[in-house]
Symmetry: C2
């Protein structure tokens, strides 16, 4: 008999029918003899509708009141699921985040969980009940409702799993697991049985948005075993866990292509201290998320500086950069939205050399030009023309034999 | 500088535009230098929509979960009003029932307020903030959210006014006050400036549903001065308060006609103990709300028993009564849905005689036949043919000169 935390996102609880399907799924786990804690997001478009309502009375609503408003979405979900479970004959009780003992800091709309006192959850589990907790919310130090920000329900689930020392935290989504590549793009992309926390983090940051990075970090920190699986079919998903030795036998775990990128090059920046700081401070205050940064010395005393940003932030970026050119003494800037970032990820890279070479060679053989390179211990990313993104993903998937369970050339 | 509790019902906060109007109204009171606590119901059809959602997953949802679900409606209202007030430049904060210190018993969906610890409200008022509280809800002894049942927001407002020793509790509705009679039926029906708690209670029970009886009883118990007024126009409403001596100069305060009644007569009931008890016990368990009861001895050893019930409960009544006729040894029963109850109400009746006579004479002069009579200290009700209900209300309004401020013949 194990303890499971099961988290269902907004699309899994979109309407009454979805709720009934989730109830059946949860009850089945309970009937197998396990203790079950369920974490829910708001139903379907509820959060968006509430935000629209708020904008009608105030274009910049106070964050404390926004949390008061948005936290109702999850409260509706948990009570409806409790009712659906009761209809099946199950014993179940719903709890708000504050009732579940989730304490957060005071940063409304983007609060962090400080601690969990799960007494009330444990008490209900002991009585044989399924406990359903509102995701995404907790009680602030001032006794107010605080939300963890959008997507925070994953974090709630992982934090509860850690506090309850649960055997597994299952994240139900509309995909059935983590793949070696996007199966809509790459032929013979394969669902992974397991993936290491660090690999998952790199994949998330590369645009494979199966799990929120924050919840993966949390799971890694507390050693919570995550499983990503679909709520629409009964099949095992992908388990995200601490890397074990034989994981390193697989050098490359997956390929990710991010087509939502744009490239900015600032030409002939004076090569003196403080210039980069001025530039990236300005971009940060313009709320631009800079990703890859490459600097090439082009000639004595000057350098070209190139970086990538999300494509939908290119206008903000242009405004910020154009205003700085004269100040930093740069010659000019160019903007390119026709690029893509393609990456390979794997913890095995740490102990294997020559992976970068294999990657560049595979791309080169297919006449795909590499414009930027950035590497980490377990990831190599390249920037290429956007039109070649899908082809590059396929080429790399083939090159590293990712369609085979014991792949990697 | 006074303290006001202002309560706005569902139709006053139906959408964003209504919320902005309410915000302006509340802020105006605040700007006059008063402390303001606002109590809100759920927006428009929210509660009905949530009930419909619950029925889709469970035809008989658990009451504890129903409270968890429905209490979100008021929480949306209070946060939206806080945002609308902020947009006007006002300082305002929203509180749930539990946050406002409202403690209830454990009777989910129909809880009673046990106590209020208004520290957090008082603290915010001292800081110059408008405090907006969720109506209809509180915290149960087990730490759960409990609702007071529909219409319970009036009770919340009155209870808060009592706890805060507020100078006045203003109930904003879609009518502009309490009238001497239904102005849609009776010409020259006049809005009353004041009405006594007991008169208001009788009028409510007679179908003039301006205020929930329970909130009037509460106001009476704690001496809270109520004002009923419209949220759609700026004009004084009707003040409901303790009767004062000069109120007794007005013998009849108002006329109420209730056309939603049906009459049941059971013929030749054996005149022995226990028969009435058997009958009304059966009707109570069939959930029939019996109103007037009249028993006439018709001949030795038998009696005719007549009573009225709400018209939409006549089928339930018929089933219950027909099943009992043989058991109690009655000859038969007749059912009449073409009746109406017309009543006059006034605390002055206590100290004046001859009012019943004046009433019957006025009806008789207009050829309106009285079929049943029932009286209390401050009310006389008669049952007549339904077709004459409006005419009877007009006749009585004229007879007691209710169109005149110092009326009553």
């Amino acid at each position: 008999m194990a303890t499971y935390v099961q988290k269902f996102g907004g699309s899994s609880v979109a309407d009454a029918e979805c709720m009934q399907r989730v109830a059946q799924r949860v009850y089945d786990t309970k009937k197998e003899g396990h203790s079950v804690v369920v974490v829910l997001s708001a139903m379907g478009k509820t959060t968006d509708n509430l935000i629209n309502l708020s904008k009608q009375v105030n274009p910049q609503p106070a964050e404390r009141e926004m949390d008061m408003l948005l936290s109702t979405g999850e409260q509706v979900s948990v009570s409806i699921l409790a009712m659906a479970l009761h209809a099946l004959g199950a014993e179940a009780v719903s709890l708000t985040g504050p009732q579940a003992g989730i304490a957060t800091d005071a940063a409304h709309t983007k609060a962090k969980i400080l601690s969990i006192q799960p007494d009330r959850i444990v008490d209900n589990l002991r009585k044989g009940r399924i406990v359903i907790v509102c995701g995404f919310q907790g009680l602030s130090p001032t006794g107010d409702i605080a939300t963890l920000g959008r997507g925070g329900s994953d974090t709630t689930a992982v934090a509860l799993a850690a506090a309850l020392k649960a055997d597994r935290c299952q994240i139900f989504t509309d995909v059935d697991g983590v793949y070696t590549a996007d199966p809509r793009v790459v032929k013979r992309a394969r669902k992974l049985d397991t993936v290491a926390y660090d690999e998952m983090l790199e994949m998330a940051s590369l645009g494979a948005k199966v799990l929120q990075s924050r919840s993966v970090e949390f799971a890694k920190k507390y050693g919570v075993e995550l499983e990503v699986l679909t709520s629409f079919e009964r099949m095992p998903g992908t388990v995200v866990k601490e890397e074990v030795e034989d994981m390193e036998d697989i050098v490359v775990r997956g390929v990710a292509a991010d087509k939502n990128q744009a490239k900015v090059t600032i030409q002939r920046v004076p090569d003196r201290p403080g210039v980069a700081a001025t530039l990236f401070k300005e971009l940060a205050s313009a709320n631009v998320n800079v990703d890859m940064i490459v600097q090439n010395v082009s000639e004595q005393g000057h350098t070209d500086m190139t970086f990538t940003v999300p494509r939908d932030e290119i206008n903000r970026t242009r405004t910020a950069v154009d205003g700085l050119l004269e100040i930093v003494g740069a010659a000019g800037a160019s903007y390119d939205v026709d690029i893509a970032k393609v990456s390979i990820v794997g913890v095995g890279m740490r102990s294997h050399s020559g992976i970068a070479y294999q990657m560049f060679e595979a791309l080169s053989e297919n006449k795909i030009n590499v414009e930027m390179i950035s590497t980490s211990e377990i990831k190599i990313s390249v920037v290429i023309r956007s039109a070649y993104a899908d082809q590059a993903a396929q080429v790399l998937h083939d090159a590293f034999k990712l369609d085979q369970v014991n792949g990697t050339a």
